[in-house]
Each structure stands twice: as structure tokens, then as C-alpha cells.
């Protein structure tokens, strides 16, 4: 996991002709191993589209995303799906935990999907939940967890498979300020501990401060970037 994630001249266009919208208009970005990058910008600036391109969720209209030396656009949908399962982790704003599964089984899902036995998957997931401060809550359903606790379960799920990159889309968007800061601290430190890179889409400067680098976007382009104090 020591090769960077590289996006080169990414273009993503929706619609055709006069109604065409350029969500991405030539974005270059490199995410180094172990680096945490915040992507900031106003609504409609292309942040989430960029995240989806980087994670292989969508194929860009033009340009390339290279991970471990492979251009994601050359992979079939099935291979990209498998890649997202094995190499990447995801944390979303909400609606990501299966309501019928207890916390530990939600967190164990990626390992089980990758073929790990259930016993081993739940053991690893329970250890992650404990590491993230949720010891004793393994059997609780998402409906029995607070917003912050549910996001910690989502973080455990994102990290349980030891991914190379964790993608987070507004991970604190549905939380109050104090809980959001707490969750973000857990996310960044846990990701750093595993050596994974972190890409966070946010419109919150407070979130960006937790990352080593911040990339600013507007109208589908990168308009600037700066390093956090600690990284300089």
C-alpha cells in the first residue's frame, strides 16, 4: 500500500450540448500513502463527484485515476466493485448501517464479504469497536445508538478490512459540533494508526483542520491547496 492514489486531468460531464454540466473540469490530485486530504468547497463545486471518481464509483468522462499502478477506468464494473470492497473504506453522512444487524455485525460486513469466517470477522470487528470506544455496545442495533456512536460503527466498518484509502463524504454533517469533532478525531487518528490515506469531502473548515492537507474546489476545478500547521 505504498503507491499514491493519482487523479490526472479528471473531467466529468453530465448531459450534452447546451445542457451539459461540467461537474469536474480537469482536476489533478495525488493522495500520498498515509496522507489525510480534505476536499472543501461550496455546494455544487464537484467535491462528491471527485470522491466518487477517486473511489471508482463512477468512470470519469475523461482523465484517469490510478491506484496501485492500475487505471480504474480500465477495470470492469465488477472489478471496481471488488476493489472498493478490498482496498477502500467508506464513511458517509448517514444511512449506511443496516438497521437489522447489531453493531458488531455491521462492522464485520466487509471482512465477511471478502471471505473471512464469521467468527474471525466478528472478533476483529469487536476489537475495532472497542478501540473506537464502543466496548459493550456490540449487540446494539443502529436504532439504539446515538448519531456519534453510529458514525463510530461506520468508521470501524470502513477500517476493519485494513483499506489503503478511506473515503469520507461529509462524515460529521449530521452531527452536532462537539460530537462531530469527536468523531472526526476518532476517524483521523484511527486512519493514521492503520497507515491508510484519508480523503474527506466537507464544507466545514473545522473538519479540514484535522487533515494534513486541504484542497479547495470551485466550479469543478481545484482552486488552491494548503498544508495544515502540523504538516508544514
Amino acid at each position: 500500500m505504498n503507491a499514491p492514489l493519482v487523479a490526472h486531468d479528471l473531467v466529468q460531464t453530465y448531459g450534452e450540448g447546451s445542457t451539459a454540466t461540467h461537474a469536474l473540469a480537469g482536476v489533478d490530485l495525488t493522495v500520498a500513502p498515509g496522507e489525510s486530504v480534505a476536499i472543501m468547497g461550496p455546494s455544487g463545486s464537484g467535491k462528491t463527484t471527485l470522491l466518487h471518481c477517486l473511489a471508482g464509483v463512477i468512470r470519469p468522462t475523461a482523465g484517469s485515476v490510478t491506484w496501485q499502478g492500475t487505471d480504474l477506468a480500465t477495470l470492469s464494473d465488477r472489478r471496481r466493485t471488488a476493489l472498493r470492497r478490498t482496498d477502500f473504506g467508506f464513511v458517509f453522512q448517514s444511512g449506511q448501517l443496516l438497521p437489522e444487524l447489531p453493531a458488531v455485525e455491521n462492522a464485520a460486513l466487509p471482512l465477511m464479504l471478502a471471505g473471512t469466517s464469521r467468527v474471525e470477522a466478528t472478533r476483529v470487528a469487536a476489537a475495532w469497536l472497542g478501540h473506537l470506544g464502543l466496548a459493550g455496545m456490540e449487540k446494539r442495533r443502529p436504532g439504539e445508538l446515538s448519531g456519534g456512536q453510529a458514525q463510530r460503527v461506520a468508521i470501524a466498518r470502513a477500517l476493519v478490512g485494513a483499506p489503503g484509502v478511506v473515503f469520507a463524504d461529509e462524515p460529521t454533517g449530521a452531527l452536532d459540533q462537539a460530537t462531530g469533532a469527536e468523531v472526526l478525531s476518532v476517524l483521523t487518528s484511527a486512519t493514521r494508526d492503520t497507515g491508510a490515506s484519508l480523503v474527506v469531502v466537507t464544507h466545514d473548515a473545522g473538519v479540514a483542520r484535522h487533515c494534513s492537507r486541504t484542497v479547495m474546489m470551485r466550479d469543478g476545478r481545484v482552486t488552491g491547496e494548503f498544508l495544515a500547521e502540523a504538516a508544514r
Binding site: R84, F90, G95, Q96, E100, M112, L113, E144
Partner: protein, 451 residues
């Protein structure tokens, strides 16, 4: 603003084609239309046999005759078939109503946040369900008109039906539409009772309480009744018919009591023993909501029960009868049995498809997140398939045991164990099961659309 005006405003601002809410509306309308059309055809059949028997006067005279003519038995048998079909019909109606109420939680919570009262939110749900039921019922009337010529070609009592025989009349048409509306409204309100829609969102999905042991006791009572009631058969045809109806009602009640309980246990066992994600998901979902899992296959349970009863018809050969009217009656009995079974199978398939689609739509956010995170669609398809197959196996098993409990005290063990009976039963169950699995397969399209 009145609830009606608010509802009308929201409808006029309805979302685009890709919104799952529109998909749910289409599925709900299709389910309501199917239920209405089939209900009308079934009522038309009962009415036609009633008229052929000479109406109330003719039937009364026939029952008082020293030997009840076969023509008198047709309306009773058709009535029993209609009674058997009432359960899958009601299940389909309720499934449609739940579909009509699906995916509105977030919208209703937002309305509560904006100041809508609880009664306004309930009113909006009722109006949504009722409007879709009304449209579905209207389409069902068209479906009835389309089906009647096909039904008229069926031969009973040695002749096909006249179209006029299958015309149910305006009062029945209106009554059916009203009944469908009533089922829709009651089910929609019942589905709202299970969630607390507050301005801060929708609260639910905590660890569900277990099934209560009272179900086991009630089931034992029902089973006892099944063994005792058939012994009361005797005397006039009217008494025999009443006993039969009571027997069927007890059977339905027993099936619906024991089914969810057995499913709850099987779901927990499945989840505990699961080694793969699809099996784990299926087991947890079944144990989470055994009643809804049972509802989604309850129709097939009933179809299996009907298949059990009608399988003994294979022992009857019209050629063995010395009397022409008896030979005709036996042949018609077989046709009617198969027809009832076929309708029950189709209704069960539509119910399962609609319920599965509704579930997918309700959980579309989780499905989408799982898909983005690299869960391939086959895993989700397998989970949904197992979520149907496990209850399906349980329902067929429970229905088979129940059918045996009903039949053995009446006809004995020997006819039931005949190879021809067993083969016919298995064939019917396989076909009905295939229909239900096809219904589940059809819900894949919905899963693709929302993921």
C-alpha cells in the same frame, strides 16, 4: 392549510421519474389492481354457480330434497374456494397498502418539523394510500372486464359461461372498490402506528421483542380443534358446509399463529448459524420481523394447503362413476381445485414480489451505501432470495402438516400416502414455489433502480 390541500400541493410537486416514491406508487397501484380484478372474478364465479343452482329458492329446495343434487353443491364449493382465496387477496391488498405507505418517513418527519400535526401526517398517509387504491381499483375493474371473456371459456357443468352469468352488477363493483379502499386505509394507518414520526425523524428499529409463547398455546388449541371439528361432520349438507367453513377459519387462524412463531425461531437459528453475509442478512431480517416475513409467503402457505386438499382429487376418476352427473361433478371438482390453486399461486407471487420491492425501497439508503462500499449486487440479490426461500420452506412445511391434520381424520392415512397424491402435491408446490421465486426475482429490477 387543510390536510387535503396540503396533500394536493405535495402531489402537484411530485418528484421525477427516478424517485423511488414514484416506483412504489406504480407497484402499489398494480397490486391493488390485481387484487380488485381477481376478487371480482372470484365473486363472479360464485354468483354464476349460485344462479345456475336457481338462486336462494333453488338451493333451499335442493337442500330439502331427499338427495342433494350436484348442481346445489357447486355454489358451496365455489364459496369455499372464494374463502380460501380471501386470505391471499387480503394479503395482497395489505402489501399494496404498505407499499403505498413506504418511503414517506423522511417526508413526514420534515412536515412535522414544519409544524404539521400528527393527525395531518396520518391524514396525508391515508389520502396517499386511498388515492392509489382508488386508481388501482379502477384499473382492476378494467382487468375484470378483460378477464371475464377468458373465464367464460371455462367449462363447468358441461358448458361454458355466458358473459351475462359473470356480470356481478354495479352494487358488487362498488362494494369491491370500497372494500379495497378500506383495506388500503386500515393497513396504511396500521403501518404508521408502528413508527413514531416526530419532527426529529422516525424512531424505530430497536431490538424487537420476541414472539410470545401464547402463540404456541393458541396453536395447540387450533390443532386440537382441527382434530375434533371434522368428527362433527354429518347430517345435512348445510351442517357439513358450516363445519367445513369453521374448519377452514380455524386452519387460517392456526396457520397465521404458528407461522410467524416458527419463522422467528428459524430466523434466529439461520442468523446464528450463518457463515455468509446473504444468509446472515436474511436470518436477521426474518427474526427482526417474522410477521412481515410470514405475510410475504403466507399466500404460498395457503396455496400449499389448498394443494394438499386438492391432491386427493387425483384419486377420483370420472370414468369410474356410473352416473353422468357424478362423473361431470368429479371432473369439475378437479378443474375447480386446480383453478383455485392457480389463482392462489399467482396472488402469492404478486404479494411476494410487491413486498420484497417495498422492502428494497424502504432500505434504499442502506442498499446504496453498501453498493458504493463495494458490495456486489449478487450478494444483495442472494440475501433477498434467501429472505424469501427460508420463510417459503417454513410456510410449505407448516401448511403440509396442517393439511395432513385436516385430511387424515377425514379420509384416513392410506389415500394421503398414495403415490399419485404425493406426486400431484409435490408438483403443485413446486410450481407455486417457482411462481413466488419469480416474484422475488422481479423485485431485482427495483433493487437495481434504487441502488
Amino acid at each position: 392549510m387543510t390536510t387535503l390541500r396540503l396533500w394536493s400541493l405535495l402531489r402537484s410537486r411530485s418528484a421525477g421519474d427516478e424517485d423511488p416514491r414514484r416506483l412504489t406508487a406504480v407497484l402499489a397501484v398494480v397490486a391493488f389492481a390485481t387484487a380488485t380484478a381477481v376478487l371480482l372474478v372470484v365473486v363472479a364465479g360464485v354468483q354464476a354457480f349460485w344462479d345456475r343452482a336457481g338462486g336462494a329458492d333453488g338451493i333451499r329446495a335442493g337442500l330439502e330434497a331427499p338427495e342433494t343434487p350436484y348442481v346445489i353443491q357447486y355454489p358451496f364449493l365455489a364459496g369455499i374456494a372464494a374463502l380460501l382465496l380471501l386470505v391471499p387477496l387480503a394479503t395482497l391488498g395489505a402489501a399494496a397498502a404498505r407499499m403505498a405507505a413506504a418511503r414517506r418517513d423522511a417526508r413526514l418527519a420534515t412536515l412535522r418539523l414544519c409544524g404539521a400535526t400528527r393527525s395531518q401526517v396520518t391524514g396525508l398517509t391515508v389520502l396517499d394510500a386511498a388515492s392509489q387504491a382508488a386508481l388501482g381499483a379502477a384499473l382492476g375493474l378494467v382487468g375484470y372486464a378483460v378477464l371475464v371473456p377468458a373465464v367464460a371459456r371455462l367449462r363447468f357443468q358441461g358448458r361454458t359461461f355466458d358473459m351475462s352469468e359473470l356480470w356481478v352488477g354495479v352494487p358488487v363493483l362498488l362494494g369491491t372498490v370500497l372494500a379495497v379502499l378500506l383495506v388500503a386505509v386500515v393497513s396504511a394507518v396500521a403501518s404508521l402506528r408502528r413508527v413514531a414520526i416526530t419532527p426529529l425523524g422516525v424512531a424505530r428499529r430497536v431490538t424487537p421483542p420476541g414472539m410470545r409463547a401464547v402463540r404456541v398455546l393458541s396453536t395447540l388449541g387450533g390443532a386440537g380443534a382441527l382434530l375434533v371439528v371434522p368428527q362433527l361432520v354429518g347430517g345435512s349438507a348445510g351442517v357439513a358446509f358450516t363445519v367445513l367453513v369453521v374448519l377452514l377459519l380455524v386452519t387460517f387462524a392456526t396457520l397465521n399463529l404458528v407461522g410467524p412463531f416458527v419463522l422467528w425461531i428459524v430466523g434466529r437459528m439461520t442468523a446464528a448459524a450463518a457463515r455468509s453475509v446473504p444468509t446472515l442478512l436474511a436470518g436477521r431480517r426474518i427474526a427482526d420481523s417474522p410477521k412481515s416475513a410470514w405475510r410475504s409467503v403466507g399466500g404460498i402457505g395457503l396455496a400449499a394447503f389448498i394443494a394438499g386438499l386438492t391432491s386427493t382429487f387425483s384419486l377420483l376418476d370420472p370414468g369410474d362413476s356410473g352416473r353422468a352427473d357424478e362423473a361431470l361433478f368429479i371432473a369439475d371438482l378437479k378443474t375447480g381445485g386446480f383453478l383455485t390453486l392457480a389463482i392462489a399461486g399467482v396472488l402469492a407471487a404478486v404479494s411476494t414480489g410487491v413486498m420484497q420491492a417495498g422492502r428494497v425501497i424502504e432500505q434504499h439508503a442502506e442498499y446504496r451505501a453498501l453498493t458504493l462500499a463495494g458490495t456486489d449486487s449478487r450478494t444483495l440479490d442472494r440475501a433477498r432470495m434467501r429472505e424469501t426461500v427460508v420463510p417459503l420452506a417454513v410456510s410449505v412445511g407448516v401448511a403440509t402438516v396442517t393439511a395432513l391434520m385436516v385430511m387424515i381424520p377425514v379420509v384416513g392415512l392410506q389415500p394421503v400416502a398414495q403415490p399419485s397424491v404425493v406426486v400431484q402435491y409435490l408438483l403443485c408446490v413446486v410450481v407455486a414455489t417457482a411462481l413466488v421465486l419469480a416474484g422475488t426475482g422481479a423485485s431485482r429490477r427495483v433493487a437495481r433502480a434504487v441502488a
